[in-house]
Symmetry: C2
Subunit: 512 residues, 2 copies
């Protein structure tokens, strides 16, 4: 069986021992083994810091952008192979796999383009120069310079290609070297993506490393100039943030964690017509794409009480008709969950929701004799009924709960405790204004569905131009958002002194 090697210290190295087995989740067939045992993680971090860091800092933004373009080209050249791995190792339909792989390529290209725009500078100039005294001689200027550490990225199993690419794009463009740790269950795709980028020699030595298998004590080795970006469960995010070295050295940590994203049907949308149809279409796509294993997937539906029964019946019909099975079958619309542990966790979540709500479609009964499958599942709740689990537990699968509302639903949405995205389906400007005012502080993104916006990707798609992250339960992090993504990897420093000297020092920067 294939042993997945890590790319650390500029070499491909296999860990000791058997490690963890990776499977095809549709067939339960073992595919590969991943181990990080015996690899010298401290040396891997030092190689990134001491070889990749200076190399990246010596380049300007445009040159770093060219690296990202090269990475995108390498992935594009291996696209079919990567899609096939997505279908085989991740249980993706071909459409799901494209969402991941093409998303990775598009995000790299978006940041390559940003690099070209930022041009010849090696750091960002932040804001205008400031006169600090009565005389214009005394001058201040903020600049944002790359940190001298390594960026460790710990990614989730659901987007092995995109997760690797979107985090690396921002760090590399900012001028920080990256050590990326894909989730083990779906590491085949991330590892192959790394291989093709190494084969194409698009990266400076030490700029990007990949650690396959368990992270071991990697996060405990980080120091003050390092940063840690994590996507995954809230529990793991908490453990990382509580590490003594992270707290002692003020290691910057960005967490993307649980999110109980809501979709709200506005009071004006009715239970028919374009807006209502858009709502149905986007909910069904969002709940079933990647079998609901998206941090941005809709978990809660808020529907005016008078339309709740119609929406319930329509959604139950649409979800119930969707073909679930092995993604190698072209008719299949939804594949399995990623592994046995995820299936068990989602089934447990379904039990929790079922203790308070009424099961309308799906449920935890296995729809197929083999593989980690779950049918698309819908719960409904009576108006004002107890729904504690709905607002507290992220069930990371094709599972959604319908909650009727009678007054402005912002307080119900806010019960989620902070989320990545909320979608609103309404054309009533006054209602939108009131609702947005109530929910905005609790979200990183608010998507307003509109039937006249052709080709809108729906709320579940993260675009490189907009920030991705959310307060509270969602981890309090922020990624992407165009240039905003660079801030995490940069240290802002105020330069203060005589105007010609300060202006001279800022000259090697680029207006940010």
């Amino acid at each position: 069986m294939q042993h997945l090697a890590s790319f650390v210290g500029g070499c491909w190295l296999e860990g000791r021992g058997a490690g963890t087995q990776l499977h095809n989740p549709a067939t339960e067939e073992p595919l590969a083994l991943a181990s990080s045992e015996g690899l010298d993680l401290a040396a891997a971090l030092d190689y990134a810091r001491n070889t990749g860091g200076p190399a990246l800092r010596s380049l300007c933004f445009a040159e770093r952008g060219t690296i990202l373009k090269g990475m995108a080209g390498a992935l594009q050249g291996a696209r079919d192979e990567l899609l096939e791995l997505g279908m085989r190792n991740c249980g993706n339909t071909r459409s799901d796999a494209k969402f991941d792989v093409d998303g990775a390529i598009a995000t790299l290209l978006a940041y390559a383009e940003l690099g070209a725009q930022l041009g010849a500078g090696r750091f960002l100039v932040d804001g205008e120069g400031i006169q600090l005294g009565r005389s214009p001689r005394f001058h201040g200027q903020h600049v944002c310079v790359p940190r001298h550490g390594v960026a460790v990225h710990i990614n989730a199993f659901n987007f092995p290609a995109w997760g690797l690419a979107e985090k690396a794009a921002a760090a590399l463009l900012a001028g920080m070297p990256v050590l990326s740790k894909p989730a083990t269950a779906t590491a085949m795709l991330a590892q192959r993506a790394m291989q093709v980028m190494v084969e194409k020699k698009v990266l400076p030595d030490g700029a990007l490393s990949l650690l396959v298998g368990a992270p071991r004590d990697l996060p405990a080795l980080l120091c003050a100039q390092d940063v840690l970006a994590f996507t995954g469960s809230g529990d793991t995010g908490e453990r990382l943030r509580a590490l003594p070295n992270v707290i002692r050295h003020s290691v910057r940590v960005n967490v993307e964690a649980d999110s109980l994203n809501a979709a709200v049907l506005g009071p004006d949308a009715g239970a028919s017509g374009d807006l209502y149809e858009l709502f149905l279409k986007e909910v069904v796509r969002d709940v079933t794409q990647k079998a609901g294993q998206k941090c941005t997937a809709i978990r809660r539906l808020l529907v005016p009480a008078e339309h709740a029964a119609t929406a319930r019946d329509d959604l139950a019909g649409l979800l119930g008709n969707l073909k679930v099975g092995n993604p190698s079958d072209e008719d299949v619309r939804m594949g399995p969950l990623t592994n046995a542990a995820q299936l068990a966790d989602v089934r447990e979540g379904v039990e929790h929701l079922g203790a308070e709500g009424r099961l309308v479609a799906g449920g935890s009964k296995p729809p197929l004799p083999k593989g980690y499958f779950l049918s698309p599942t819908l719960f409904e709740f009576a108006p004002g009924a107890k729904a504690d689990a709905v607002h507290a537990r992220e069930v990371f699968g094709p599972v959604v709960s319908l909650l009727p509302y009678t007054e402005n639903p912002a307080p119900i949405v806010a019960k989620g405790g902070g989320g990545l995205v909320c979608s609103l389906y309404s054309e009533d400007a006054a209602w939108l204004e009131e609702t947005v005012a109530g929910i905005a502080p609790f979200h990183g993104r608010i998507y307003i569905g509109h039937p006249k916006v052709e080709l809108s990707p729906g709320p579940g798609t993260v675009l490189p131009q907009l920030v991705h992250g959310g307060p509270g339960r969602a981890g309090g992090g922020e990624e992407l958002g165009g240039k905003r993504a660079l801030a995490f990897y940069l240290q802002r420093v105020a330069l203060q002194g005589s105007r010609p000297l300060v202006q001279g020092l800022a000259k090697a920067g680029t207006p940010g």
Copy 2:
């Protein structure tokens, strides 16, 4: 004896029991008692969230700026009384007390002016609108809205007026209510400042509360929409960041902690002339102002090896001639440390430095029979000598260590592990560029001393226009910096949808 009351829930309330005794540190005379025992802290936070929050959010930036102007006016009206309290309760010389009180007033006025500039909006519009698809219909816009919680500010003993004001200015202007907790040892000044602002009725109900005495479990009561800003020791900062509720709910925490600020005499500055004289003058001021109890005070001096002996002798002379004593005596240039505990801590630090370096001036021997005094103290180190304590221990008093250097000193400066400010005294552009490149990622501010900049306040003064904070040991935080200060109190959210709807929602904002 006076019992200091807290202003919480819109009322002045005294805590139970004797609480903690406050002293005149020059005479050891007891002045007042402070206790928070028995106060309902959860109710105090809820009052701020539910009364102060909506009141502030309903106001536009210009109106919030008017509140800050009113606060500045109230402090200005009581300035003499506040200065007298600074001299009596904080051991300040009159000049030290002005630094604190006038700094508070100036910072409030700077943010009042910013409020006027930001005008009629109630939140910030962040960046340009973004076309998200092929059609301009699909549109994105980031906005930054006030969080719906309370900002808890835990301040340090060294700046009771400025600490209260600079943190409150940013939060209130952003639209968040504040509960401020001054350090107990010097709480008389903060409490009187609060009294005069309440008497002048410049604040909406619930917008600003003051808790005097121990914080008890206040930080443990914070939730996802709250924020916590702390200035003080690194150890306390670590404890706050490790609180389970802070980690679980992603409570935003800003820490301003230890900082081993360095002043570097450039190789071109020589050991005479204007630049060298400026270096001496600013070092002496910075080491002795507020008896060295400033987070930005110079702790480490890096001097070219060939000038080390001259600089040592000159500084020893200047520091040794400085009159130390009760600030009520007008000849006195430096007062005592804040209390017995601080004096003991600083003496311990002096012992640590003395184990590796040579004492040139001062030392831990009491210069006066009564009061918490320490003489200005200078250590010197041989080139390349072991100086671990110099780079690891912040001695929070009038104590400084001189380290000779022979090569570019950036690596020595970086040994401090992250600091608030580093000052460079040089006019050599190439040397400055190399040194700034080496130290910038480790600092929040770099001050370049220049004899032609008249009225420069030196590196130790924090200006409202420039960020204040630093990575690593300094806590990884960021305050002030003009508009940048608001970000901590705002949630950035991407609005995404049809262009007219998104533009309509952003209309109530102000270009940030």
